[in-house]
Symmetry: none
Subunit: 325 residues, 3 copies
Amino acid sequence: RIMRPDDANIAGNVHGGTILKMIEEAGAIISTRHCNSQAGEPSVAALARVERTDFLSPMCIGEVANVSAEITYTSRHSVEVQVNVMSENILTGAKRVTNKATLWYVPLSLKNVNKVLEVPPIQYARKEQEDEGKKRYEEQKLDRLETKQRNGDVILPVINPEPHTVGYSQSSLIHLVGPSDCTLLGFVHGGVTMKLMDEVAGIVAARHCKTNIVTASVDAINFHEKIKKGCVITVSGRMTFTSNKSMEIEVFVDADPFVDEPRERYRAVSAFFTYVSLSKEGKPLPVPQLLTETEDEKRRFEEGKGRYLQTKAKRQAQMQQAAQQ
Amino acid sequence: RIMRPDDANIAGNVHGGTILKMIEEAGAIISTRHCNSQAGEPSVAALARVERTDFLSPMCIGEVANVSAEITYTSRHSVEVQVNVMSENILTGAKRVTNKATLWYVPLSLKNVNKVLEVPPIQYARKEQEDEGKKRYEEQKLDRLETKQRNGDVILPVINPEPHTVGYSQSSLIHLVGPSDCTLLGFVHGGVTMKLMDEVAGIVAARHCKTNIVTASVDAINFHEKIKKGCVITVSGRMTFTSNKSMEIEVFVDADPFVDEPRERYRAVSAFFTYVSLSKEGKPLPVPQLLTETEDEKRRFEEGKGRYLQTKAKRQAQMQQAAQQ
Amino acid sequence: RIMRPDDANIAGNVHGGTILKMIEEAGAIISTRHCNSQAGEPSVAALARVERTDFLSPMCIGEVANVSAEITYTSRHSVEVQVNVMSENILTGAKRVTNKATLWYVPLSLKNVNKVLEVPPIQYARKEQEDEGKKRYEEQKLDRLETKQRNGDVILPVINPEPHTVGYSQSSLIHLVGPSDCTLLGFVHGGVTMKLMDEVAGIVAARHCKTNIVTASVDAINFHEKIKKGCVITVSGRMTFTSNKSMEIEVFVDADPFVDEPRERYRAVSAFFTYVSLSKEGKPLPVPQLLTETEDEKRRFEEGKGRYLQTKAKRQAQMQQAAQQ
């Protein structure tokens, strides 16, 4: 579809959240279709996890987004989908790959939303494809368990914060879940949640560096808990780490089923977003260093640094590998 | 994309206007891409005309719309695009053709919006395809001229109208044209205009018969005048004809460039929409007869009857032809 | 949230209606949460009234709106909420108070929408707060009764009106109430209604003075009747008064439950909006005087003048008081 002014920031770059939403919709369609391809109980595929996603090049207003999706692995109860996004300038014909994302979906019964159904197996062209998929499946399963524990954290308000401290840029928004945000099961689309998360992360990044910012990458996101129609969701973000040219922001999503339910407010999702600051010519700018004050902030900064160095090392290894081939 | 509650009426049927908007966006993308496929001045394809479109079967919330587009003819300054829409129930896998539409686009220069550029010719598989395309091109050109003359008509307000008269159901809405409604050239997308037209026509139909109504077909629509960002548009509809089970509504679009421009309000588009009334089980219901009062209303009723009988005869001829093959 | 191009007019000023909608959503969330804070029948808070609201300074595209809400009084069956809106330019860090609004909500049972539930009392820091709240409660109750009587008025169409007469700028729009417009109870959000009212009032103002206009204030709005999903609402506006630099527009909302209900069209809301005209540099411009023709128009002009002088006097008294402190 054609990118509109509302899909973009004031510099004309399409929001990362808009792209994540398109990716998730494509993934939800192909995996729901697959899970219903054999006779049996009808189901709707719900997003369980998105693997780390890089935004390779920015998309602009007026360009056309081409989204393609393919199922690459199935376990007994989950589907792995690979989604590619290309941006096309229909005036010049230029095409660029802007994103490659991997998503995991789980089929939930249309009649009983708490029942996870079985997934019809796919055929692999080669045995290795199945083995590699299984390895990816085990890895993400482990990672899901770990993040579940991290999820207790809360963001406290700070009064009169100093510039470039954590409290200075931290932000939160609330959103009342409406019918258009939801799947046939009455739960929020994963893509809608990711779009709100990107919006908050973008505000945190812009408050910190006061320039035009764009999403560079999103770490793996695990969707631990469904969010029902009628809930109020609070999306909060705080900066955890800065390198010379990037900012890492942690985002939390809390759901508050405030009507008709005896349930307490709960943490539904959390994730790390990385942003870069761009000049008017689209060149990366240096980022002011984050000032950490408390022990927790210093610890999170070090953890962020660890993730940053790990990603950097991985990327260098890939580039060396590519150069040798 | 997946059909959402916002795309549909309360009975769950997707609005004809939503489908027309998707069709037009697909047509705009493929024809803009084609017109820029050769080096030269960059252009944006603007919608000039949509041929008569039938809504073959209703689409519902939760279904996925698959839209495909193909260029079928090019004249020196225009492109004919064929767009097909299939609805897919991703739970059952059932697919149905819901629409086949033919649209005509004209490339306008990105630098000078009043300059129509030349269209790169396409290759035809067979010579007859080119000849048939040329015939369609000449026919639509003639029809465009005719409707331009009909366009002087205005809808006058009626005070305390009787049920089932023309004045009883006539309706109009105003809309301030925002950035998301517009192309790169700053003019309203044809699809946005058609969606508003369908909205008004639907309200006229519902006010007349007080039941759940759906779009059955749209007669050829000609876009004579562009509408600029910041205009207020008034979309008005009045019923012109009823058969036993259908209603014909004429819709006018007037643009009012009220800020910053010396220009008067002008008629931009007009068209006929046909609606049917459906029971809760989705069966067509009888429609109350339209009561005509003035000479003009009687004349328009007879003209509508003419169009209705002509369409009916055409459809029967097609069915006989299909039966003989 | 960040203000987008669609939230603003072509000069980049955010529509007053967008801000009113955000204010109402914040109020609805906090009061629904409060009303469900004690065990008992679940309820949804419905907007009953918004006190007079001034737009202290314009908000622009790209700025972030910070909305905060606090419960300031509870009667047996209603909740008073104070909402503050700050606009923040995240590039410069500049913050400005743009709105302070007071809203009244009433808890309706989720199971039986016609049943008003009891509100859990809040604790006051000082006894005077309770007394002042009670006084405000009694005052608004009285005012509600009065406006209910004014509500019979209708706007009649005018053919070929002269420039700057009432008929020249009067406007109306129709809107089909969709699922996204509604609360969990299936009734239109008060904020959605106010946004449509501001849209019509803005078009009336722009038609009158043909310049860039912004909302300056909204008089108290009473929501006498709920509007159900599937209704068609007609929002009509006419100018009632002009001072040298401001225009007062009266707006009516009529609901037409045209499908599936035996009920007649009814008046749901009415209110007065005040607009000012701005030059390209954002300075207030003189406004062409409204030409009144009929007795009714002259009477409404005088009444508008009375409201204008009263507000002006109040503001001067407040400024003197502030200067003395």
